[in-house]
């Protein structure tokens, strides 16, 4: 920490601790640490580990809101520890707990496998008949900017699990697929390159699928990336209903245009600068 940034306040961190080898149940341990302006909760946890208690465990990687590892319950709200400044959410006290609705592996480390298993079950990738073309592409698929916008928002998901921790439906139905996997399913369903919606409908339309969601909207409220999974789920349901009633238009997935580099630029587009490498 730079010398010139001064300690602003002492903040009490109430951190959930749990060691599976020695503790029957989680308990809360309090650490008082000096907090400077701009310090994130992640920085605070590092301070504790470096100076107070080296046994504290949590998960993080990128420390800049990209990897989705550091989702935690901060003052009762699921959010990213690296993306949250301590002084923005705490005056004197800050509770730091692992994301609920996931098993705790240790301290602040949730077991996200339950989420990833559901995610995988929904085929979160482009599914189409000409699989060879996906694995070993011989050309480009055409997709207009409007077609891209239909799913772009849902691609920003970093799989942090905050939405799963906030969802009241998931709290009582462990088998509910949950906001992250369902938003991912919608992301691929509306991708014009994809032809797997009807396959995914088997899961998304099942008893523990999208129709378990009743739009409490907490997932969208807590999502640190603005993905709006609640919106994705409602749009997914609409298609499920249309498919069920055989009212959805059958559209072929977009086709290969031409080989890489063989596309013709539109007229009136000036030539790019000469390649330097």
């Amino acid at each position: 920490m730079p010398e010139d940034s001064k300690t602003v306040r002492q903040i009490k961190f109430h951190v959930t601790r749990y060691n599976p080898e020695s503790d029957g149940a989680p308990y809360v341990k309090t650490y008082t640490i000096p907090v400077r302006e701009g310090m994130t909760v992640l920085d605070g946890l590092h301070y504790i580990k470096d100076n107070v208690d080296s046994t504290l465990a949590w998960r993080y990687s990128c420390r800049m809101g990209v990897c989705g590892s550091c989702g935690m319950l901060l003052n009762g709200q699921p959010t990213l520890a690296c993306n949250t400044q301590i002084l923005h959410i705490a005056k004197t006290d800050l509770t730091v707990a692992p994301l609920p609705n996931f098993d705790i592996i240790r301290d602040l480390v949730p077991d996200l496998l339950s989420m990833f298993d559901k995610h995988r079950s929904l085929k979160p990738y482009v599914v189409r008949a000409d699989e060879a073309e996906i694995n070993d592409p011989a050309g480009e698929f055409y997709q207009s900017p409007e077609e891209l916008e239909a799913y772009l928002q849902f691609t920003y998901c970093i799989k942090c699990g905050c939405c799963m921790a906030a969802c009241p439906t998931l709290a009582t139905d462990a088998r509910y697929l949950g906001p992250m996997p369902l938003a991912a399913a919608e992301r691929y369903n509306v991708d014009t390159r994809d032809d797997g919606r009807r396959q995914r409908n088997q899961q998304t339309g099942s008893a523990h699928g999208a129709f378990r969601c009743h739009y409490a909207g907490e997932c969208s409220r807590v999502c640190p990336k603005g993905v709006d999974p609640a919106k994705a789920i409602q749009l997914l349901k609409r298609k499920l209903v249309l498919d069920y009633l055989h009212l959805a238009r059958r559209k072929k997935p977009c086709q290969k245009l031409h080989g890489p580099g063989q596309g013709k630029p539109l007229p009136n587009i000036p030539a790019g600068p000469a390649k330097t490498v």
Partner: protein, 145 residues
């Protein structure tokens, strides 16, 4: 490797209340579930009570068991639960069919979500439920006669 013990951190029924940002839609969600369960409970009691006529017991006749004032209050609560559940249900049907949630947008901080888009619908439905309740209350209090 020995199986590592995990601590089950599922919130259960408390998850309806905890962990989130406490938006109005969450209250609507909880109330929708509670009123739904209430109406179901009423329905079951209703079947029991009306089936008693098979044994010649008529609890609802003039001066009977169900003419105590407490049942008037209970009846109004059932009516209120119905009014809320019905109007909120219309909102949910519209929302869940993908109306009133808007199109996918580029997320720019501070994020606006579909919740902001459907909020007017929520407000309109709650006003309608309130009007329905007021008219019903007027009737229940016997003022309509």
């Amino acid at each position: 490797m020995a199986e590592i013990q995990r601590h089950d951190n599922r919130l259960g029924i408390w998850g309806w209340l905890g962990g989130g940002r406490w938006g109005i839609e969450r209250y609507a969600y909880i109330l929708h579930r509670l009123t739904g369960l209430g109406i179901l409970l009423y329905f079951l009691m209703h079947i029991v009570v009306t089936s008693l006529r098979a044994r010649g017991i008529y609890l609802w006749v003039e001066g009977g068991f169900f003419h105590r004032p407490i049942f008037k209050v209970g009846e109004f609560l059932v009516f209120a639960a119905f009014a809320y559940h019905a109007f909120n249900g219309v909102r949910l049907v519209l929302v869940e069919l993908g109306f009133a949630v808007g199109k996918p947008i580029e997320p720019v901080y501070p994020y606006k979500t579909s919740l902001n888009v459907q909020r007017p619908l929520l407000i309109v439905m709650m006003i309608l439920a309130a009007i329905f309740l007021a008219v019903g209350g007027y009737e229940f209090l016997g003022l309509a006669k």
